[in-house]
């Protein structure tokens, strides 16, 4: 058992060394797959920033990077709103081999929306690479081509993943214990 540095952290799921090693392995797969391609990594802000930069540095072929972000979910019953692009890509992806880089794929809602949006822009190919894949929570099936780790259905933080914007800067990935008393309704 790894020593936990903060009391709210239940346990460390993946150490910095484990993450670095796995990213190198996935980067090698990507380098081989896109050797003759025109690779562009598209990161989804903010969570994917840490993963994308580590991944990009480990990939051995030329590549471009770009970022986008989407709007936030509101809980107001009167105006639930709909997801939309909050910050769009800076450049066209037409004819490029786009690898959508995610920090985590769980329900698949976000990935599906982004795939639909990007598919309409004429890329040569479109695939997903995620740091974490939480398949037990999948509702919408989306094709995940590259994944570093599959994780159980626990709430995790670190290496870009936050809880209310905190903990992104942790170099490892840890499980944080949910506080059941704080739920907006009785379970």
């Amino acid at each position: 058992m790894n020593k936990v540095p903060f009391p709210e952290i239940e346990r460390i799921l993946f150490t910095e060394e484990q993450i670095e090693k796995r990213i190198r392995e996935v980067a090698a797969e990507i380098s081989a797959r896109y050797r003759d391609g025109n690779l562009k990594l598209v990161g989804v802000l903010k969570g994917a920033v840490f993963f994308l930069t580590a991944l990009a540095r480990a990939i051995s072929i030329p590549l471009k990077i770009d970022f986008l972000s989407i709007s936030s979910f509101s809980t107001r019953p009167s105006a639930p709103g709909v997801v939309r692009i909050a910050k769009d890509l800076d450049e066209s992806i037409e004819g490029e081999d786009v690898l959508l880089v995610e920090d985590i794929v769980d329900t698949g809602f976000t990935a599906r929306y982004l795939l639909q949006t990007l598919a309409a822009r004429g890329p040569n190919s479109l695939a997903i690479c995620t740091l974490l894949d939480r398949t037990p929570r999948r509702i919408v099936q989306v094709p995940v081509e590259f994944r570093c780790f599959e994780i159980p259905d626990r709430f995790v933080i670190g290496f870009g993943l936050d809880y209310r914007q905190l903990y992104r800067n942790l170099g490892y990935i840890a499980v944080i214990k949910p506080d059941r008393d704080s739920l907006p309704f009785a379970l």
């Binding site: 969570g47 709909v82 599906r112 259905d153 739920l183 907006p184 379970l187």
Partner: protein
Amino acid sequence: MGLITITGAPGSRHEEAARLVAQRLGFELISELRLAALIEEEFGALASLPEKAWPELMTSVLARLATEHHLVVCAEGAEWLFEQFPGLLRVQVVAPEARRIGVLMIERRLERPTARELLRRLEAEARIRRRRRFGRSVQRAEGFDLVINTERLEPEQAAEIVAAAAAARAIAEQGYLSAAAEAHLQFQVRLKLSRYGIAPAGKLSFKPRRFSHPSEEIFANLLDFYRVAWEYEPRTFPLQWDRNGNVIESFTPDFYLPQFDLYVELTTMKQSLVTKKNRKIKLLRQIYPDVNIQVFYQKDFENLIFKYGLGRPPGPPARSSRPPASEPAAAERR
């Protein structure tokens, strides 16, 4: 009455646009699935109803609903009904074949050739169904008030255009269908239905959507946010029958997501009740092996809630300024 019909070819994303229009205008959304369930409730099993009676069946059900609600109807052939009513706005959503194939590829996880084949099959089936039900297979542009091409428009943008057209036509300012007008319509419709030997049970009641647990409302809002079409408790599955064939046990999943042909059940209750529900779900999977159902248990849902920032995080409160759980401050992206 205010009635907006939104129809389109497979893959044109007209269902998403319809749902967004209903959400934006506060109209009731009647999808193909919901309409079929209402027709079945009023007139009996769909398999026993002749296809030719479909316009009258639709008219009867929609007229009843229109006495209490403005409607967005996303069902084939709806544009051919109520043509004489002033509060009607007929919208057709189109998109080039390549775009629609792309939509099917993503939604159904298909390779392009398979998606193309599926699209052709769905289109052919729709043509046959329209001919059988309405006596015509082609939807001409002049039969609509508004035709929207979603090649370059997202469903949300299409919904904005429809909402603007509805405002220009003052659709929402129309009163609901009067009881007298409904009675007149029902008389005509039931006269025609009697030719097919169809006698309505007169039990149709339109239940406003009421969730039985706050978690369901949160989940529904999440689906709306991600533009995922959903139906609330649309189908009850019989699980056990007595010797006379009467249903003695059944199960009604909370949500149905038609785009993915997936039922979702939220289980946020005591462990003793979870065991009982698990038994029912196991039974459902045995009796209906083709039915896809995803169960969210308490822990799954807790974590989903925490992901969207609706709960308070663990740890000392001094480390962050946390809004109360009811505030709309959820961080969707992580």
